[in-house]
Amino acid sequence: MTVITESVLQAAPVTKTRGYWGTVGRRILRDKVSLICACVLIAIFLSALFAPWLGLADPYQGSMIRRLRPIGTPNYPLGSDELGRDMLARLIYGGRLSLIIGILPVVFAFMIGTVLGIVAGYVGGKLNTAIMRTVDVFFAFPSVLLAIAISGALGAGIVNSIVSLTIVFVPQITRVAESVTTGVRNMDFVDAARASGAGALTIMRVHILGNVLGPIFVYSTGLISVSMILAAGLSFLGLGTKPPEPEWGLMLNTLRTAIYVNPWVAALPGVMIFAVSICFNLLSDGLRSAMDIRE
C-alpha cells in the first residue's frame, strides 16, 4: 500500500529544502510523548547538574532522631532515609552518579561498537568473521551475569562498574552497527563512490557513517535504561558505588530494610530509576519513528 502513496508523493516536487536532521527534529517536536520525556530528562539532568545551588539540605548530613520520616514532613518534603538524611537532596544528588554510570558506558560502547561494526560490515570477509565471532562469545552470557562477573573480577568501584558495563554493551552495539553497515554497503551509492576512486576510509567516513549513525544511535539510547538498571543492580550488590555516596541503586539497596516501615520513601529511588529509564526508552522509540522517513 505504501508503495503507491510513495510514488504519488515522489511526483510532487518539494518547494522547501530541509536537511535530513532538520526533518527529524521537526517530526520529533510534533511527537508529544517524546517531547514530555525529553523535558523530564532535561529537568532531572539540570537539577543533578545544579544540585549544590538549589538550596537543598546536605545529602550526607544524617540525624539519628529523624529517621524514615514519611513524605511531606516539614523540612523533609520527600521524607528521610534510614540514617535520617533528606531524601529529596539525596535523590537529586544521586542523579549525578546514577546518570553518569548509566550514560557513560553507553557513550563509550557507542563509540567503540560503531567503529568495530562499521569496519566489520564494510570490510567484510575474514575481518568480519573475526570481529563478529568474538562478539558472539560475549553474547553467550546474559548481560547481567556478564556485568557482575566483570565487575567482580575488577573489584568494586565506580570506574570499574563503568568499564564492565561498557564491555557488556560493546558487543550489542557492534552487532547492530555491523548489520546496518552491511545493508548500506550494498547500496549503489557506495559502489558509485568506489567507482569514483575513493578509498575505504573516505567511503566509511563520508558515505557509511552518516547513514548508519542514526539507527545505532537509536539503539544505544534504548540501552541507557538497561545500563541504569544494571548499574543500580551492581550498586545494589555492592559492586558499584560505596556508601555513603548517594546513588539510586545503592539507595534502593540500603532502604530495602525499611520497606515495611515506610514503603513510599523506600520506593523513591526505584521510581527515579524507572522514570529515567522509561523516558529514555520512549525517547528512543520516538527517535526511531521520527527518523523513519520513507522517501
Binding site: M1, I4, T5, S7, V8, L9, Q10, A11, A12, P13, V14, T15, R27
Partner: protein
Amino acid sequence: MTKLVEVENLNVRFTGERTVHAINGVSFSLGEGEVLGLLGESGSGKSVTLRALMRLLPKKRTVINGSIRVAGRDVLALDDDELSMFRGATVSMIFQEPALALDPVYTIGQQISEAVIRHEGKSQREATARALEMLEVVRIPSAKRRLDAYPHEMSGGMRQRAMIALALACKPKILLADEPTTALDATVQIQILLLLRELQREFGMSVIFVTHDIGVAIEICDRVAVMYAGQIVETGTLRQIVRSPLHPYPRGLLASTTHGAKRGQRLETIPGTPPSLDKAPTGCSFAPRCALAEARCTEALPPAIDVGDGRMARCVLAERIQPASV
C-alpha cells in the same frame, strides 16, 4: 451494454504529514466483457484508482469521495464481511510483484483451494480439483506437481501465472490488473499478456488493466483511459487513442516514444515534470507543460467534453470537435 463498474466523480485524498490529492474527479465505466486500460505515468493515480475499487487503500489516511458501483453494489458502503466476500468472488486483483502477493508459507495449491473453500464453501477435495484445473488453465507445465510448490520455488513468470490462477479461481466478474507484466522479462511479458487476453475471452470477464506502457496497452486493451495528475484526461477506444489522440498529453506521450525513432534524431519530449498534488487542481493540470495552453486553461478546470462515440477529452481543444461527427 450493461455497466459492470460505474465510477462517478471519485476523489481520493491521502492525509498525514503531507496531503496528496491523488485522485481528482475521476469518472469512468466498464462494460461486460470489456478490457479497459488505465494508462499513465507514476503518480498519475492509476494504481490508486484500482485500489479504491477494491477498497484496498489504508483506511486511516485516506479520504474517499464520490461513488463506486460494482455489479450494482455500492462498494464504499460495504461492511467488512461483505467486503471480504466481494473481494475474490466479484472482483479480484493481480499485482506487479507476485512474490509479494503470494503467501510464502503456503503452497500454491493450498492458497488456491483455501480461496475456493472460503468463497464457495466447497469441500477440500473439490477445491483441490479446482486448484489443479486453474493451474492447467494458466498453462503451468506439470500442474499436478506444481500444486505442492511454494512460491519461492517458481520462476517469475510461473509465479505470475500462479497468481492469475489464484485470482481467477472463484470466477470473478472483474479482474483488476496492476502492472502485472512490468517486472517480467520481455519474452515472459508477452506470454502473460497473451494468456490474459485468452482467459479474458474464455471466462468472459471484464478487466481493468493498469499500465504505464503503451505497447502493453495495445496488446490487451479495448478501451483506454489516459490518466494525468489524478484525472482522466482522455477516454476512447484503443485505436482512437493510439491513432488520433485529442488531448495534448497523450499526444506528447505517443510522440516521445523511442519506437521507430531515427538514431541521432532528437526525441520529441514533454517538457517539465508532473505537478505536485498537494492542492486540488483549479485549472488544467497539464497546462504548465502544454505548448497549446491558453489563458482559460489555468483559470478553470477544463470540462470533460464528450465528443461522441463514448469518447471523452478533458481539454478545451476538444470543443472544436463536433460531437457525433467522429
